[in-house]
């Protein structure tokens, strides 16, 4: 059957000029990009002072085979297959006898030595397609000393020159530790990370964006645009749309800039301003009342998945509930909660109360990701509006709909941008291994320029690390990049949002296009474009 997938397999990712002649490239250490805290030196004595790597052309063309292992880690993101394609094509160019070995089912599969040799025919069947189904993935970790020992034994048994870990912040934190561990043990296997996450929270001055963010946010933005069009068409519904994206609000901000919905919550701002859930309920209700006066009883609110854990009052409630085992909680609530926490709890819809009480993670903590924030906020707003209606301060009609956008964005067919970006990341990851580098993240800079000008780099994983309190302990981790409240993207949103709230400035992005005019089929994420602009420029964008 001739499917769109078969058509898509024929797409040839665009290749940056610097990566067109892989054999002549030489790694060029540049400088240590960040000041490394002393504590990190102690933890990573072998790898703490690695330099940033760029590449330059030379006449020397060294050809030798590489044996490389690769593993997907964590949730899927569009473009993973193209990372595999890039690695494969690069090592085969280094020497046709090179081998690529995929570990199945994520880090757990690596530890169980579940492998699959990857051949040209495989790559030809998966290139430019979405999903992590070719190797499958998992949320396992290689973290403890025992796990690292098992991994060491396996990579040595397989005689791997390199191990490429395609994952998010946690997976790359573990990649850094594994690289250090292999160095200590004199193991030849180089460990390279590739920045994967639709959440967009793995980025910094060198890693401009993680792969998958573009496709996922474009997928959501298209749906949001259609919902906005629907809201306008019948002038009847308020959509409360929760967006996947964990703690950070990058996806919400990107979608807000792409669609100009009625209002968008930004978790980082909620935290910074110490907002209570109640404040947001009042804010949204105010917007609804204001619009009702102009006979606009419709709209759309964007709610980041992680927002629930940033509300000041919710944090207090969760902290207090976490103090008690989940048995007898009804008694606890009656007798032990503070007045503030108790008031909030009693204000919650029954179903949500249950979610607070019943779902606990393995550490016994309330599982905030399981709380249906979009329904929670919807119901509280509904209650507030009912009250206002009784008081006579609101006369509108309110038909709300709760919607969650998530899974469909993680495994969608990658946009041309993600297809190109991932292929270049794969080539770069292989290059880093060829040059004997370990403890690096493969990166591509200058993404805001045409693909030809994209520039491969190796960024020391250590340079991305800092200390975070995790379950009561200070731990060295790759810092999650949150929305920069002083950055161009948020600044622009903040400037416009009240206009968007009261007037209608809805935008309707198309479904992802793989063909047609370049400016649409190859468009970058807006936040990426904005972040690359100087302050004075971005004010004229919208």
């Amino acid at each position: 059957m001739y499917t769109f997938e078969s058509l898509r397999l024929q797409y040839k990712p665009k290749i940056p000029n610097q990566l067109k002649h892989l054999l002549g490239l030489q790694a060029k250490p540049v400088y240590c990009p960040e000041k490394i805290p002393t504590e990190l030196k102690t933890l990573f004595p072998k790898s703490y002072n690695f330099p940033l790597i760029e590449f330059e052309f030379t006449d020397v063309k060294k050809k030798f085979p590489l044996k490389v292992g690769v593993v997907f880690s964590g949730g899927p993101a569009p473009g993973g297959n193209n990372v595999l394609a890039g690695i494969f094509d690069a090592i085969k160019k280094f020497q046709p006898n090179s081998q690529l070995i995929g570990f199945l089912d994520g880090p757990d599969g690596l530890l169980k030595r579940k492998t699959r040799n990857i051949f040209q025919e495989d790559i030809a069947q998966i290139k430019n397609l979405g999903g992590f189904d070719f190797l499958s993935t998992g949320r396992g970790k290689i973290e403890t000393i025992e796990q690292k020992e098992v991994a060491l034994k396996i990579v040595e048994d397989l005689s791997l020159d390199g191990l490429i870990i395609i994952g998010g912040d946690d997976s790359n934190t573990n990649a850094a530790a594994l690289a250090e561990f292999f160095l200590e043990k004199g193991c030849k296997t180089k460990v390279i990370g590739v920045p994967k996450t639709i959440d967009g929270d793995l980025k910094n001055q060198y890693i401009e964006i993680s792969f998958g963010f573009d496709t996922a946010s474009k997928t959501y933005a298209h749906t949001i645009g259609s919902l906005l069009k629907d809201a306008l068409s019948q002038k009847k519904y308020y959509f409360f749309v929760k967006l996947m994206g964990r703690s950070a609000s990058h996806i919400a901000l990107e979608c807000a800039l792409a669609t100009h919905p009625t209002y968008t919550l930004i978790s980082e701002e909620i935290k910074e301003e110490k907002q209570n859930l109640r404040d947001v309920v009042v804010l949204l209700s105010d917007i609804i009342c204001h619009r009702a006066k102009e006979n606009k009883n419709y709209g759309l609110f964007l709610i980041p998945e992680g927002s629930i854990e940033f509300f000041n009052d919710v944090q207090t409630l969760i902290r207090e509930i976490n103090n008690y085992p989940k048995e007898n909680l009804t008694q606890v609530i009656k007798n032990h909660l503070s007045k503030e926490a108790k008031t909030l709890f009693e204000d919650l819809p029954q179903e949500i109360q249950k979610q607070f009480l019943l779902e606990r993670d393995p550490h016994g903590n309330v599982q905030v990701t399981k709380i249906e924030t979009e329904r929670l906020i919807l119901e509280l707003v509904q209650k507030e509006l009912k009250k206002r209606k009784e008081e006579g301060s609101y006369q509108g009609s309110f038909s709300p709909q709760a919607i969650f956008l998530g899974y469909e964005g993680r495994s969608a067919m990658p946009s041309n941008f993600d297809a190109n970006y991932c292929y270049a990341l794969g080539l770069t990851a292989a290059l880093l291994i060829k040059h004997g580098l370990t403890g690096y993240m493969a990166g591509i800079t200058h993404l805001n320029e045409p693909v030809e000008a994209w520039t491969p780099i190796g960024l020391p994983l250590i340079s991305m690390m800092g200390f975070e309190n995790r379950q009561g302990k200070e731990k060295a981790v790759i810092k999650k990049a949150l929305v920069d409240l002083k950055g161009a993207a948020f600044d622009l949103y903040k400037e416009w949002r009240l206009k968007w709230a009261y007037e209608d400035h809805f935008q309707f992005p198309p479904p992802i296009q793989f063909f047609g005019p370049h400016e649409f089929s190859d468009q970058l994420p807006l936040t990426l474009k904005l972040d690359a602009m100087k302050t004075n420029e971005y004010r004229y964008v919208m």
Copy 2:
């Protein structure tokens, strides 16, 4: 700002050859397509014996101006703007002084004489874009004699030559009655219907599909494909996806054929086989258990929005509950429900029980569309699996997710197919008015052939009518087309579904493409293709 919408405005809908030379076309009565029941003759003495209309070329080119009114009726569907564009371009070709007047906010707006003159500049801003926001729509009706009198006065005041009603089965039923009424009153205004509904339930041998169905089902099928890819990638989730589409399961069947999910409920079959909710819960649980044995703890079920009202046991429960006012229902359930109904009710999750008890429509009936069927079935399956696990007959893991796909499909940017189809429908509607025809639906046949060969027709609205029991009364209505359980599309699905349930045959349709290879950017709905095939052909399609 140069948006994708501005690009899309430049798309020129393809025009059927027969509609390329509008001025020379003459209406040609063919024959009365259906035997009309005597009762309809009594109800529609003026219009019961209208013939089917085709068009033929002549040398006569009559030019005269038309004044036409147009109204959207009911929920939005992609392509509505192109119907307006077609009408506009046609009447301007008939004579440049022709006028198009839009009624705002649906039939209610017509009755309130809320109008807007439509100009070339308007059409240039809305062509090929989704949504009914240009005129807005509403669920009002023109049904009672008083309403018809008001409508009559307004179309006479405005001196309209024609009134075009863009709507579904109910709206076109009312269009037929309005046409008859205008004839009785000697009013010159011709009433023409245009078949609009994403649900796909307005079709017959002449109306091959309603507009909007293609875009909506492609929008959903793309999302479903991405969810299937996600299910495969992490091998962890079962998605329970409810699809918009009211009583009929056309959208579910179309999406099933496009994506080959684990299993798809078809309401018409549930009804035909007198299945209980319990039967379906057992069936889905059996599939899950079977797959778990092969370590496949993931999958996706499609659930048509309307399925809930077709389960035999749910029908009994609803019927019994409808007998009592919503006050004191707890008592009713204890004391008055039959054993069967009571058992079912007590088996339901608490939230769903509430939905059965609390939501009533204006006639006091349980509002089945408000029941979250996807969550209901999910929770009952979860309960069943828990029981089986305790009994030892099931060892799998079960992580379910409930998802509803609906509003985003109704107002999406129309596919090339819907853009072309709607434009041709608009041209045809105007032609019918030009030829003094009333009580007709504008139609295009031969949709399965290239656009050039599409053929405009006028189908007498009466020929689509039959009698249905509505709130205890026999009423003449345009029959809702349900999924034909003897048709090619269902037959094919039935043949494959167990294979799809146990093995994985997932398909991953792309987001709607407006550019690129013709076979993808201009693809027809699969059910339309299948229905056009002869029995022997369609078995070789999949």
